[in-house]
Symmetry: none
Amino acid sequence: MMSNSLYQDSHCVVDFTLARLWVDRRAVTLTRKEYDLLSALTANAGEIVPRGVLLRTVWGYGPDIRTRTLDVHIRRLRRKLGGYGEQYIETIFGVGYRFQPWREPKPFAAEPHMLRASA
Amino acid sequence: MMSNSLYQDSHCVVDFTLARLWVDRRAVTLTRKEYDLLSALTANAGEIVPRGVLLRTVWGYGPDIRTRTLDVHIRRLRRKLGGYGEQYIETIFGVGYRFQPWREPKPFAAEPHMLRASA
DNA sequence: CCACTTTTTGCAAATCTTTCACAACTTCCC
DNA sequence: GGGAAGTTGTGAAAGATTTGCAAAAAGTGG
């Protein structure tokens, strides 16, 4: 059976059966843990996935394990997502992370730092 | 399902019924195990075949057998694939191997993301 | 016995994962 | 605003695992 299940938006494709990722049509190699983590996030794209859930589903860790390995993997995933890492993987402080499907940036909007009066 | 008894791309032909291999129109002699392994890989060309699956289908080994014989055969196959060995048989670290159908190296082509207007 | 094939063995090399120390940031409260 | 406490980001290093490889040993069929 060829159920080609994948996540897809205008910059990023994750193929769960082939275990591969493309960013802007460019194949990106993921390690196993990176892929597991990305899967856990994209499978719930748009929703917050708590740290505890990630640590349990991806690492099999119990609730009382203290580690920074999740953060490190998040950082590597963000990198491999090219320039979009920060946009895709959002940090929910004190809770977890959320993979945010791509949204075209607003055509133009003044950023706060542009608004400072130049003395 | 009419199984095509032939794998074929621009450098490599595997005939499953004759149990033979040609690389660049040159016949290559394979031993039995080499051929079984190549079959298992090319039959799923483009997909990852986990080590465990190879050890089971080609060797009949159970899940708890520790051996490096698979790696040794992979190496010999790569050699017999001429200069293309590394390109054809890809190592998926911690998972298995993948026979990758031949792809012509890109001459040069602008990728979508190169085309975005800068400034 | 001989030629050939296959498996084992023991490192070396490559790769991936986790930890660590500390910087940066968020939140909360006075 | 200005700490204090807790959380996350980060680069580098250590730790653990996997794979590559060469040579030797073991198996196979003539």
